[in-house]
């Protein structure tokens, strides 16, 4: 047996078993009629027809598009401006932007959403201030499309900050220097040189954020549903929450989402390939000279502080306030007298909190380990154009077409039918995580391998090392910084994502993000805030480790 041939086959088989059944079952589920017991009784197009006729179906598609476009624009504006200020100017207090980004990387999205709902809500400080100065009325109606876009936009701005920061950092300053020397003002230079150079990267990123926003669940569920604004993800979720669950309709909606995302991904691929053509990164080892903002320095610093307050400080203060109250109340002097540690005590003493924290860590670590192990083979073979490399790459990144909630439906359909005792255990969540985050592991390894020159492997081969020995003794050790960064990244996002696990978690197999969602739905805001804060501290430690590792290993954060 030749390991060069068998390895891709084995890896390919594992990937196929993971990736293909969910997609097939989803399509199958959207095309069959089922009886009350959930067994298939025949083929039908009725689920797709009902998408056209069902009230609100077209509206949820339109809402999805508006919501995603709006939040993408906002996050690009906020995150992009911040990235530029931090990477390319001499604005003061730039570290604050990095700090809020690291902490928000470790915090489950849903915690941000809960905090924001409180801050922007009818009794939050903003409306409270408005009311006390005007006597009546509300400044912000958070449970609205505007509120959804606002919160989602701020949720994604740290990601935009990181990715565009990398773009700005790597940009060649020669052209900007030339413009400045020729007498162009700062604004003209930015407009005509910096932005134009970064435009392909910005467009690619915009599409990336748009795709993630189409699959977003937390904000549409918590902010949208009370305002009766449904998007595709919440429509799928609701179809699964009726008795009996409307699997057919959920699957049909899911298939529509998969098609939308697949089309967008196609364009994303072309855009990001295009972005590389524009790359002006050279081997020159210097950092571009930062723009001197002159008197505007302090205005820029104020913007950075404002962003820090909005993205990190206010939500944190809101959570601390909620955690210290026995019942929810607005910020007030009276509330200061009723502070209590009861919620923290409950969280620490009740055994189910420790159980679910342990579950989360276990399943996220397991998924990250499995993914990086699989990705080491797949990424290497793909990057080196080994036999079947292209096919393996496509298989491993197939799951990018699944929004989290859709993957939840698909994986559930598969493992309700497979006679393995997996449904209702942590295993089903682990499998879903592996499927969902496999592409990220791939990106880390692939990018890592591209940085290694082939001559090392060739030398080993000449010296008589076999295929797998080369992987084990040469490639793996050199890849370890990328592998560790990839592992930490997957560990972090697995603990952050709610949508994948929300349909798969069972009472005996809870994970942190779902537990936080349950606590919100079940009316335990105080314990939610207390648990969320403790969890955030833990995850921030991991996020710091990830950040240091990424810097050290020279890998690009977020694997892009």
């Amino acid at each position: 047996m030749d390991a060069r041939r068998t390895t891709p086959l084995i890896v390919g088989a594992v990937l196929a078993i993971l990736m293909l059944p969910p997609l097939l079952m989803l399509v199958h589920g959207s095309l069959v009629d089922t009886n009350a017991a959930g067994a298939a009784t025949g083929w039908t197009l009725q689920h797709f027809r009902s998408l056209l006729t069902a009230p609100g179906a077209a509206e949820s598609l339109r809402n999805s598009l508006v919501f995603s476009a709006g939040s993408t624009l906002l996050s690009l504006l906020v995150g992009g401006l911040l990235a530029w200020l931090v990477e390319r100017t001499n604005a003061p207090l730039r570290f604050l932007a990095t700090l809020s980004t690291i902490i928000s990387m470790g915090t489950p999205y849903i915690l941000h959403v809960v905090a924001w709902l409180f801050l922007l809500g009818p009794v939050g400080p903003i409306n409270d201030f408005w009311k006390s100065s005007r006597g009546t009325g509300k400044l912000v109606e958070v449970q609205s499309m505007g509120g959804m876009i606002l919160i989602e936009g701020f949720l994604w701005s740290p990601l935009v900050f990181l990715l565009l920061g990398a773009t700005f950092r790597a940009a060649n300053a020669d052209m900007e220097e030339a413009a400045r020397t020729s007498g162009a003002s700062i604004l003209a230079t930015i407009w005509r040189i910096s932005l134009r150079l970064a435009m392909p990267a910005i467009l690619a990123l915009a599409l990336f954020v748009f795709i993630r926003a189409i699959g977003a669940f937390e904000v549409p569920a918590l902010v949208g549903i009370p305002a009766r604004i449904y998007v595709l993800t919440t429509t799928v979720f609701e179809s699964m929450k009726t008795m009996p669950p409307n699997l057919g309709q959920a699957s049909a909606f899911a298939v529509v989402m998969v098609v939308i995302v697949a089309v967008l991904l196609h364009f994303y691929g072309r855009l990001s390939a295009n972005a590389e053509r524009f790359a002006s990164v050279t081997g020159k080892g210097f950092r571009p000279r930062p723009f001197d903002l002159g008197a505007w320095r302090w205005a820029a610093g104020a913007l950075i502080v404002l962003n820090f307050i909005i993205v990190l400080l206010l939500p944190l203060v809101a959570l601390i306030w909620l955690a210290l109250q026995r019942f929810p109340r607005a910020f007030s002097m009276a509330g200061l007298k009723t502070l209590t540690l009861a919620n923290f005590t409950a969280v620490i003493e009740a055994p189910n909190y420790t159980d679910l924290a342990f579950n989360s860590l276990l399943v996220a670590a397991g998924a990250a380990t499995l993914i990086m192990a699989l990705a080491a083979f797949t990424g290497w073979i793909a990057a080196r154009n080994g036999p079947g490399g292209r096919a393996l790459d496509q298989l491993a990144t197939l799951s990018l077409v699944f929004p989290g909630i859709v993957l939840g439906v698909a994986v559930m359909e598969v493992y309700l039918r497979v006679p393995l005792p997996i449904y209702g255990t942590l295993w089903i969540i682990l499998i879903a995580y592996v499927i969902r985050f496999m592409p990220f592991g791939m990106r880390y390894v692939y990018a890592g391998v591209l940085q290694l020159h082939r001559e090392l492997e060739e030398a080993a081969s000449v010296a008589g090392a076999g295929y797998l020995t080369i992987l084990r003794r040469i490639v793996a050790p050199l890849l370890s910084p990328a592998m560790v960064a990839g592992w930490l990244f997957i560990f972090l996002i697995a603990n952050k994502e709610l949508a994948i696990a929300v349909l798969l978690a069972s009472p005996g197999s809870q994970v942190a993000a779902v537990a936080v969602f349950d606590l919100w739905v079940n009316g335990q805001g105080g314990e939610l805030a207390a648990f969320g804060l403790l969890w955030t501290v833990l995850m921030t430690v991991v996020a710091v480790a990830f950040f240091l590792q990424s810097r050290r290993g020279g890998t690009d954060i977020w694997g892009n």
């Binding site: 009794v123 009370p226 669950p245 929810p328 449904y423 739905v521 079940n522 009316g523």
Partner: protein, 341 residues
């Protein structure tokens, strides 16, 4: 003489010893199973956790695993587990959980010994369910925001334009949510007038909160909404006891129903499940229910705040029986979907 004494002694302790003996066998078997898994619809920190702790204290070595979800969610989870051939739940409760699960043949018949004295409307003769506690639904209001003459005293008061957009309720599609409100109005006012009322109420733009009644009440307490509809009156009492600015209004009749607790067919820990049912429905278990300010189902256990029940509270209630629920639920839910979503 000595022998007679021994015989008498044996007789004296024989009776109770026998009952305790059956118990002892159950306890022993339950202890071997080590745990009981309870899918609850009750609010965890208010009653689920205290009940679980009380059970664990009485029967050390048997752990209670609990979780909370809506009635529909609990039913969905158990049917899913059954479909996958891997049932994990032993016990469940809820206002209408037992019916879909009964239809799917997933409910075990176990007439609970300690609930023998319960009135017939609070226990199923076949032992598929027993009432763990009873509910009285009404409106809750923030006492800082709603005072004196503003406090709604009848359902018609809710149509006052000043409450437009200022009332909220849960999306829970059960008799404890909007469908329960709807059936109450239809029964009170008749079909035609009732529907006209519901349309007028829908025009008031009642805000749907996709969360438990407890969350709605918390939003009332926080001042986000002055009025919350379809909240449990005892929740208002629990919060008021902690100093929250909240009280419950008297919109009569209060829709009332039982929270039914049952055992899953094919439960992985059947003995622990039976022991748990025996405990929570016994006087001791029901006293814990009362201590947590919930309204016990046991005929001799008194509610801690007596005014939460119609007799002492002096309010009219209208009970929704399981039969009424089964017959009407679909229609009420349809009206809710049509008018209020």
């Amino acid at each position: 003489m000595k022998r007679i004494l021994v015989a008498l002694l044996a007789m004296a302790i024989g009776g109770p010893a026998q009952a305790a003996g059956a118990d002892a066998a159950l306890i022993e078997a339950a202890r071997k199973e080590g745990q009981v898994v309870w899918y609850s619809t009750l609010i965890v920190n208010q009653i689920t956790r205290p009940l679980a702790l009380a059970f664990e204290k009485k029967y050390p070595g048997i752990k209670v695993q609990y979780s909370r979800a809506t009635s529909t969610d609990v039913a969905l989870k158990i049917t899913g587990e059954a479909r996958a051939g891997r049932i994990q739940a032993d016990i469940f409760d809820g206002s209408n959980t037992v019916f879909p699960l009964g239809d799917a043949d997933l409910v075990e018949s176990y007439p609970v010994e300690s609930a023998k004295g319960y009135p017939p409307e609070l226990r199923d003769a076949n032992g598929t369910w027993t009432a763990l506690n009873v509910y009285f639904m009404t409106a809750g209001y923030n006492t800082d925001l709603v005072k004196g003459a503003d406090i709604p005293k009848s359902f018609d008061d809710l149509l006052n334009p000043k409450w437009a957009g200022k009332m909220a309720w849960t999306t829970d599609p059960t008799v404890n949510g909007p469908p329960g409100f709807i059936q109450n109005i239809l029964a009170l006012k008749g079909e035609a007038v009732g529907m006209a009322y519901l349309k007028a109420l829908a025009a008031q733009k009642v805000v749907n909160i996709p969360a438990a009644q407890r969350v709605v009440l918390d939003k009332v307490i926080a001042g986000e909404f002055p009025i919350g509809l379809m909240i449990f009156n005892h929740h208002a009492a629990i919060s008021a006891e902690q100093g929250a600015p909240v009280a419950w209004a008297r919109l009569e009749p209060f829709p009332s129903n039982a929270n039914m607790i049952s055992m899953v067919k094919g439960a992985p820990h059947p003995n622990a499940a039976k022991l748990f049912l025996e405990f929570v429905l016994s006087v001791e278990g029901q006293e814990e229910v009362a201590r947590d300010l919930y309204l016990p189902a046991h005929p001799t256990v008194r509610a801690k705040v007596a005014e939460l029940k119609p007799d002492a509270g002096g309010f009219k209630a209208r009970t929704v029986t399981p039969d009424m629920l089964r017959a009407g639920e679909k229609g009420w839910t349809a009206i809710y979907q049509d008018q209020f979503r």
